[in-house]
Symmetry: C2
Subunit: 334 residues, 2 copies
DNA sequence: ATGAAAGCGCTAACAT
DNA sequence: ATGTTAGCGCTTTCAT
């Protein structure tokens, strides 16, 4: 591997000059710049990122901290991770994977190694020990999700208010006025998406004169089945529990309740899941890939200008029409 | 951040001695070792992995190279990645994400930065330009999957021979003798899992006196539906196309063909998918998490002893019984 | 068993 | 505009 020394020698300049053209740190005569660049090309020179990191005291490595016990998010998670890594690369950074427990200990341990300049934290909880560990460390970080009070923290998240409004808009435009919300009876008592969606749902129902009905069930097919007797004649259901959705669907079918004829369903899930349901689901699709890139970009912006406080970015899920929603006129609800 | 210098000073020894206790590189008197360790504890010392990497010429960072365009593997991929990262951590390594194109250019580019000691390559193709890039680079690597001729390459993969045998065993024990295999009509013409499974299926059919029927279809619900007219009276189907499986199921249902009453189905897919099918599927479950850890361990073994050539590890999928397979006696096939 | 000192390959003052 | 040089924090000979 060629080093700056080799390049400098071949170009007949000092290693400092090589460094200047490499980083654009100081002005260099076009003529010598050319000589240096030619030398680099001839030698196949690539700078050693490690040495650079040590000398510049910036590693240009970011960590992607995520829970060990994966919520089974499927393709959304994959999209998110890939786009985060690509976004980092586009700005000259690398992304290391840090599976970490929810207490902040592993985070602290890993931070102390000095490998990373910043951390992207996934699956943020309303109260989150990892966030405290990060705050205490002084290492810049970006949250994917939000704590209960995210003021002053760099974060990007789904806009649950707006997402819920879009889902309700769609159903109301179809004439539905009796709309239930189903969420997961989470092991995590205070799961942000659930809490925020429920709050948005309640508020919107209030504003729009709708009667709220909020149901919870286990995140499984069996859980979904158990919902049917509790639907109280609703003609539409918004489901934030992708596995339960299949149980709901199958139980409705077996009771002769037609979807979307009698009951309309909007599910917060991925297109993959939507496609294998019968009927194919109308979904609210998570902006996973976009969030990954935005989170990384916000963090790097901050890293490169510590004065900066990148504003929170809240993106709604997008409505993708499937075959599980229809006009309410003829509904004969469950 | 405390440095070796600080520790050495506090312990009243030289920095070399600190390094010796840190790495166990040379014998140190219990007494001085204690003093050094006390000093480290008091100062909250953690060694800087970057400086260590630069000095030792080993970064202890591994890359996980994976295709940008994710095959939508869902939870299997997530498990794989998480377990690979954990395995690396357990041995004092970090894992960086490298989304790369299938030509080897990005790989070469990234390798030249000198950030990583080795690469774990996912989604290996039978002919794979990335493998050539790696071979040419001299950087040690491990394959998850196999090229057409993987001799001499460190690799771990699913044992498709054995997996297929297990699936057929199960169906034959239930009395089935007319068993079809469904695979994906892949964009990639030479996708290892498909080719190897098909070969195993043909060979096993030959050995066991079964008539092979190999069908392909698009990886979608629509693709799955198109299979039914082509089943030629088979009483059992092995499906290696997880999305098509749902189309198959629904088309059979709408034609009044009962699963598992008339046709049994074994699907190579994840438990998540199995759970939302109706009936819940009997599956062959991929050993994703195990492969992730094995791949990383094999690579690190090699890194730490270049003499070593870790043997290939081929693991079968595991049969998990669901409700989509039953005895053949009363079958009235499609 | 311990220490002194020379780098690892680069960046970034500080000179010129 | 370019060069000199002192580190970044650690590992690792080579002495003692």
């Amino acid at each position: 591997m060629a080093t700056v020394r080799d390049v400098a020698e071949r170009a007949g300049v000092s290693i400092a000059t090589v460094s200047f053209v490499l980083n654009g740190t100081k002005p260099v005569t076009p003529a010598t710049r050319d000589r240096v660049e030619a030398a680099m090309a001839e030698l196949g020179y690539h700078r050693n990122v490690l040495a650079r990191a040590l000398a510049s005291r910036r590693t240009r490595i970011l960590a992607l901290a995520h829970p060990t016990l994966e919520q089974r998010f499927g393709s959304t998670t994959t999209d998110f991770v890939t786009s985060a890594a690509r976004a980092a690369r586009a700005r000259g950074y690398h992304l290391v994977l840090w599976p970490v427990d929810t207490d902040g200990d592993e985070i602290r341990e890993l931070l102390s190694q000095g490998l990373v300049d910043g951390v992207v934290l996934m699956e943020v909880l309303l109260e989150d020990a990892r966030v405290e560990a990060l705050t205490g460390s002084g290492t810049p970080f970006a949250l994917i999700g939000r704590t209960a009070d995210p003021a002053g923290l760099i974060h990007v998240d789904i806009d649950f208010e707006q997402s819920m409004a879009i889902a309700l808009d769609h159903l109301q435009e179809l004439g539905h006025r009796e709309i239930a919300l189903v969420s997961a009876g989470h092991a995590l008592p205070e799961y942000g998406p659930k809490v925020r969606s429920a709050a948005a749902y309640r508020r919107l129902c209030g504003e729009r004169g709708l009667r709220p009905l909020l149901l919870e069930c286990e995140a499984s097919v069996v859980g979904g089945r158990s919902l049917v007797p509790r639907l109280e004649g609703r003609t539409a259901v918004v489901v934030m529990n992708e596995f339960a959705c299949f149980g709901l669907l199958s139980e409705l079918a077996s009771r002769g309740v037609a979807v979307p004829g009698d009951v309309s369903i909007v599910s917060f899930t991925s297109p993959d899941m939507a496609g294998i349901a019968d009927p194919p689901l109308t979904i609210m699709r998570s902006p996973g890939a976009t969030l990954g890139a935005l989170g990384v970009d916000a963090l790097i912006d901050r890293l490169e200008d510590p004065e900066l406080m990148p504003p929170p970015q809240l993106l709604p899920c997008t409505l993708e029409l499937g075959g599980s929603t229809a006009r309410a006129e003829s509904s004969t609800p469950a």
